[in-house]
Symmetry: D2
Subunit: 138 residues, 4 copies
């Protein structure tokens, strides 16, 4: 863990009161952690904008009864195997699967992989969740 | 303007360095203003979630050649006149209009008005931009 | 207005039923208009991503009692006068103003203008709403 | 798989051309699948708004060197074990972990769980990705 230093800011009194209220309402133990979380959220959004190395999750809902879909999804994932850290599969019901693919790589490559999976017939929903390698968040 | 008080936080040194970089990169004159802006953004999002009195803008792009569309849009706006502060109209080209409606009212009513306008045939695009009465931001 | 042609699609029966429900729930008179609205929304998002000529609105909430703020905001707007179509000003209360700036230009320039306005001390909230010249939506 | 029926729509010729371009640009094999994907995306957003039973993913980036953090995260997850389908853990580097928690439950409970995890000291980033049980998407 990094050493903590002091950050001193000036802030309008009513705005500080509202900050306190959000800190307590969110169940945070202290406002420093709350403000640090706001800063980190902003940093993650900027990492994705700048196209840097990111971490993320691609979530798929699909019907495994659709002919050859499982093969195609596996094939696409292997083609991008360098960007994929792990895949977890859940059997939602008789027909439907949820698959979560944890990815790490350049933002543009991750988006391309998500698009390649989304367009397959039988994939009912696909989305990409943007996270971070954490290197800039420490 | 409200009186300024001091807010002192503890923060990891590398995170502080990245904050400084964002402050300078964003052209801010000081980091206090940058952090206050982050807090205010969060407050505005919460105002809309809680359904309080909000300020916002509804933006329309529409084709005024579509039969009776102008009449319908004016009629709908008058029906919600208590929520509308001002409407500005721009002639984009021979056919197309941009109209910006500045609104103030309960979030749910504002959303209903935006939906009523969006569904009209000839309205090519409609969106709602969420702002604030500013009362909680001072 | 452009001439209408037929678009014929195949769709799962339960999905069609849910589409119908959304069409009626949204107060649309017909499902063609509903689907066209979905397509146009996607086109607008792509215009902004590709950085093309766009139309949008920048909304500001600010405190006009802050020293020289009005002058600075006016100065910044004049510096970008080629991108600004119109500005509407509302007096929210004794201190606060809402200002809506209708803009047209390259997406990157519009974003830069919004950033230049946001960072001024006394601007309590600034956001950018993405719309379209409508050229691709007709 | 559900039986396919025909859906016939009227659409402006230029808008149809742009739809075709997006279908091809996105690598879709046919435009029916493209339009069905748009409809399903909208259905998923509505499921979350209405607070129904949803499926989603909570992604955490955290520093496992922070005292007792792993215990707290495990404890919180067990407290919500009925909403959690699976958790996958990746060792990002010496200090940092990525954890993806696949969840299923009422939207409000899922959001509460994500908030409970986010606020822990040492959690550098937490986000919630909204997906679906797929029941309404078939």
């Amino acid at each position: 863990m990094s050493n903590l230093v002091r950050l001193s800011l000036s802030i309008e009194k009513p705005l500080l009161d509202r900050l306190e209220k959000m800190v307590q309402g969110g169940g945070y133990t202290n406002r420093s952690e709350f403000v640090r979380d706001m800063i980190r959220d902003l940093l993650v959004r900027q990492e994705w904008k700048r196209g840097e190395e990111v971490v993320g999750t691609i979530n798929l809902i699909y019907n495994h009864h659709v002919r050859q879909l499982s093969e195609k999804l596996t094939h696409t994932q292997h083609h991008h195997h360098k960007s994929i850290m792990a895949t977890t599969h859940i059997h939602l019901d008789e027909e439907l699967c949820a698959e979560t693919i944890m990815v790490r790589g350049k933002a543009s490559e991750i988006k391309e992989l998500a698009d390649d999976l989304r367009k397959q017939k039988g994939v009912l929903h696909a989305n990409l969740s943007a996270s971070s390698t954490g290197k800039l968040l420490k």
